[in-house]
Subunit: 64 residues, 2 copies
Amino acid sequence: MKNKKMKIARIESDVSQEQLADLVGVTRQTISLIESGNYNPTLKLCKDICKALNKTLNDLFWEE
Amino acid sequence: MKNKKMKIARIESDVSQEQLADLVGVTRQTISLIESGNYNPTLKLCKDICKALNKTLNDLFWEE
DNA sequence: TCATTATGCAATTTATATTTGACACTATGT
DNA sequence: ACATAGTGTCAAATATAAATTGCATAATGA
């Protein structure tokens, strides 16, 4: 259950895990864990990531 | 910064805070805190609440 | 009046998200 | 061959979400 949507959005925005981590104020490991799946981030972090990548919650974290 | 969307969706579905808490497997206090705002729930809990109320993440937790 | 349901809030404890520091591997370029 | 950027992952510590318990209030019905 990897989060491919987020990884793709990040690569489309041309930012590394470390750059995204800096943008949202967490560590690189946290970004890596979220993309790797099996992780349960907080809502605020999800929102911050969405804003940094110009996406919405549904875009990156919702599956029908 | 209250979460009115969630409270409205819950009332539309005719469930109490306690019933919603049971549906998603948390305590009534956690639901109360989320609706009161100033709280930062986990993504999994947000998703579970959305499913219980037949809404999406953007419906309840995203503001433009 | 009395009981019940629904809600808000606060203190303390428990579970877990996140940090920190480290080591490893794979490109890519010099 | 060497350096560097990007990523995956692990163990231990810290920060905070969530649980637990309890008390208070308003609304409703018997």
